[in-house]
Amino acid sequence: MELQTWIWLFIGLSFSLYIGIAFWSRAGSTNEFYVAGGGVHPIANGMATAADWMSAASFISMAGIISFSGYDGSVYLMGWTGGYVLLALLLAPYLRKFGKFTVPDFIGDRYYSSTARLVAVFCALLVSFTYIAGQMRGVGVVFSRYLEVDINTGVYIGMAIVLFYAVLGGMKGITYTQVAQYCVLIFAFLIPAIFISFLSTGWIIPQIGFGASNHEGVYLLEKLDGLHRELGFHTYTNGSKSTLDVFMITAALMVGTAGLPHVIVRFFTVKKVRDARKSAGWALLFIAILYTTAPAVAVFARLNLIETVSKQSYAELPQWFSKWEETGLLGFTDKNGDGIVQYVAEPQLNELTIDRDIMVLANPEIAQLPNWVIALMAAGALAAALSTAAGLLLVISSSISHDLIKGVLYPKVSERQELIAARLSATVAVVLAGYFGIHPPGFVAATVALAFGLAAASFFPAILMGIFSLKMNKEGAITGMLVGISLMLFYMTKFKFGWFGGGTSADWWWGISPEGFGSVAMVANFTVALIVAQFTPPTPATIQQLVKRNQKTLISASLFYFFHNLALIVAQFTPPTPATIQQLVKEIRKP
């Protein structure tokens, strides 16, 4: 069968499935709309979280980025998985116990202040919109590539589909659709990887295959390091970023992951507290399947590419080369006129330009896999893009209808009206996101990293201290969030968009890139929150005692606990948390 026929078949089948599920599980109440009625099984919730989490960027771009940066790409692998450990151990169970719908809900109630809630709504909207702008573009790119329409038409189709099932189904519809989407995307990612691993090393498990030797008995990684040295690139297994920068970026991505509202809200959808822990475990397991395969795909693709094109005669290159050349994602300029492809690190001599995104998409073709595998990739990429966009839309709509309208503006709104408001704001959000997809703000790639930095700088400290520190008061939390998010915004806009005088990588503070700066802004958030708390009224003796008891255990621990400890000492000079709130915190700590 023709490739395009296969593509239509797979996309048609998978979409009928998603829409069928959305219709069958549509939401009837606000509870179902926001948190799927709170009755999702942990394994299903884990799959949905994984699909929600893995966007077109994880599916298409990540392996490509690793392919070109080698060891440096580890920041994404560790950063985007390690955050789930923080979530499962520090946040998810307590947030579930608190029994609210959204993150601003928690922050507003825990810090007994609608100002805190408003700040949280603002941060949630900022984080979600920066994230979704990139996603809608991704949806458009994938649709346009596989349905052979232009990118804008692709965005419109994507908007229509997301609108249909996010608005109708709410969290309930989205959750069950995402379960199906996870199955499609993981299958689509694994099949080509297994094929290629087997073809190049004889191992069917890619995770083992990329550390194995090829048919000549040479280890793939050694061969790749050798080729990289020869062509003037940094060695694949060592990377080129400074250790400090790698450390900071990994930390920012981890903490950002644990602070992203569309991830956190997932743990409100399960029945019991223990299910929240379980969900995080399953989610990470399902994510890890893709994330441990990606570095293997990166190595296979990189080797295949170099071996197929480097020092080869342009006229004799295989057919896929010219096909991808037409898309503009692959380009050859014969600078020295010898008809041979020179692919080297030196920009003056290099004759080959490659867009990182094609490494995953073209990989099956480079390895000459059958057409149905390529079509499967298409369905998988679409599943990845759509599931993430839908999850984000829900966070935006609940921030508006629940946190802003019901929580702050009109607390008396009825459940029916709130549900209508939720659907309306989801619609508005889709249209806005589509607008950004069609008119990308010019810095889409940068904004994804920005979203993580913003989440790390704003939510994570506020939620963590809300659970683990009885002393943290509203003044501290609000100033902390505001300082963290402003600092992050300042640094990102300065070095990414050239505002505030701009600057180059030579001007980075302590040599830390904007991607890694979320870690610094997070520390600023913690510090400022604790200092502000110092200049506020005193705490009741009973609370101080409770805090002191915990102190001994806490001293021995790492960075967080250093700050916490500081807080406890400082806390003696600070204003009291209302008794009702203290009771509430104690309540959520109980088993």
């Binding site: 998985t81 789930y84 450390f247 822990r277 008891r549």
Partner: protein
């Protein structure tokens, strides 16, 4: 329902689990995968330099195990706390 241990003990135990597991979390990723990566790379496991393997594979496997260990420990603690004998 009788409680064998009180809420404070429960919370302290919980914190101890969290601290131990997070130390492991920190060691495999920031320790083996980043700070010590260059040193560990001199050790070769199959075709993998060890530091590189931790950064791209090992750390992720450990993360998954850590969460499931925590689930197990907390379920045990919950049972202990709320056992009905």
């Amino acid at each position: 329902m009788k409680y064998k241990i009180n809420a404070d003990t429960y919370w302290r135990k919980n914190l101890r689990y969290v601290i131990i597991l997070l130390s492991i979390w920190f060691s495999v990723s920031f320790g083996f995968g980043i700070l010590l990566a260059d040193t560990l790379n001199s050790i070769q496991i199959g075709g993998f330099p060890l530091g590189f393997w931790f950064a791209q594979q090992g750390a992720i496997y450990v993360f998954v195990v850590l969460i499931f260990v925590y689930i197990y420990l907390m379920n045990r603690l919950d049972k202990h706390y709320t056992s009905e004998d």
